[in-house]
Symmetry: C2
Subunit: 183 residues, 2 copies
C-alpha cells in the first residue's frame, strides 16, 4: 500500500476537526479496535491526543499493558467497521477477523493499522487520568501516515474526498460539507 | 431571548461531533472568551468535557480563580467572533466589547453567555491536568440551553440549519454536510 509520511508536528491536523477514530491495540496475540468519538488533540509538538476510553474495555487493558495504540482515521466507506468496533466487545476474542476488518503492520508500534482507514497515527501512552466517572488516556504520536493525497501541502485534510465521520449521537453521523477560509 | 433547556444527560450531544467552542469566563470584573478547538465530551452523566487550554491564557487564570465557565457553541454566523476570540489575548483588558461580541447573563454561573452562539453549556471546573507540554481542564455541565429548534427530540443537533465550525487548522474550517443514520 502506497502511503505518505506526515510530519509529527502536523499530525494534529488529521483529527483537529473532530472526527471519530478507531483505536487499535493488541494484547500480544489478538488485535483489537474500538470506536472513540471522544478524542481531541491537546498539543501540536509533541503531538499529544486525549481519548476517553472506558477502563472496563479491552482497549484500556491492552493500552495499560503494552502502552501502544494506533489512531486510525475512518471515512464513510468504513462506517460498517466503525459500527462493529463501537458495538462489539473485544473481551470475547477476535472481533476484527469475523467482521472482515483487515489489519496491516504498523511502522513503529506493535498494534496493527486498520486497512479500511485513510490515515494512521501510531502512538504511545504517556498519561492516564482515572476518576470514578470517567477515564482518559493521553497518547503521543510516534509515526503518522496517510494514503496519498489525503492532506494538502499544509497538512489540511481533503475532507471533500475523504469524508470523515462525526458522531452526532446514537446511530447518527455528520459528514463534511463546505470548507471555508477565514482570510 | 427564547431558549430551550437541554437535559444534562444529553448535553454531550451538543459537542459530540467535534465543533470548535468559545469558552467564556470572568475575572469578576471583565468577561473574556477564548476559542477552543481541542474539546470533547468525556462522560455522559455526569456531563463532563475535556478542554485543552494554555495555562498562560487569561481563560486559564479565570477558570482557576472562579472555577466556572460557559461552553458557547458558535455557527458559521459567528465566525468573526470565533476568530477574534482565538487570535486576541484577554490579558490586555476587554476584547469582547470592542469587537462587538455581546454577552448575556447565564442561569447558574457567573461568566456570561455569548449572544452570537446557538447553545450554551454552563459548567464548573472539576479537574486540571498540567504537564510541561500541555494543560487540560475537565469541566462538568450544570445547565445547558439552546436556541429553539437547535436540537431534535433525541437531542441530535440540526446541523443542516445550525452550521457548526470544525477547525481543519490555520484559517480553514469545515462546515457540516450530509447527515446519515447507520440503521
Amino acid at each position: 500500500m502506497k502511503t505518505e509520511t506526515i510530519d509529527l508536528s502536523r499530525a494534529y491536523r488529521l483529527l483537529n476537526h473532530g472526527p471519530a477514530v478507531l483505536v487499535s491495540t493488541t494484547d500480544g496475540a489478538v488485535p483489537n479496535a474500538c470506536t472513540v468519538a471522544w478524542c481531541a488533540p491537546v498539543s501540536k509538538s509533541p503531538a499529544l491526543f486525549v481519548l476517553a476510553i472506558s477502563d472496563e474495555h479491552k482497549t484500556w487493558a491492552n493500552l495499560a499493558a503494552t502502552r501502544e495504540c494506533v489512531l486510525n482515521l475512518p471515512t464513510v466507506d468504513a462506517l460498517d467497521a466503525l459500527w462493529v468496533c463501537g458495538t462489539e466487545t473485544g473481551h470475547d476474542g477476535d472481533k476484527l477477523g469475523p467482521a472482515g476488518i483487515d489489519v496491516l503492520p504498523s511502522r513503529v508500534v506493535a498494534p496493527p493499522r486498520l486497512a479500511c482507514c485513510v490515515a494512521w497515527i501510531e502512538a504511545r501512552l504517556v498519561e492516564t487520568l482515572v476518576r470514578e466517572d470517567m477515564s482518559l488516556v493521553i497518547v503521543e504520536a510516534v509515526a503518522a501516515e496517510t494514503l496519498p493525497g489525503v492532506v494538502d501541502a499544509h497538512g489540511h485534510l481533503d475532507v471533500a474526498r475523504h469524508r470523515t465521520l462525526h458522531h452526532l449521537g446514537g446511530s447518527r453521523f455528520m459528514l463534511p460539507g463546505e470548507v471555508i477560509d477565514r482570510a
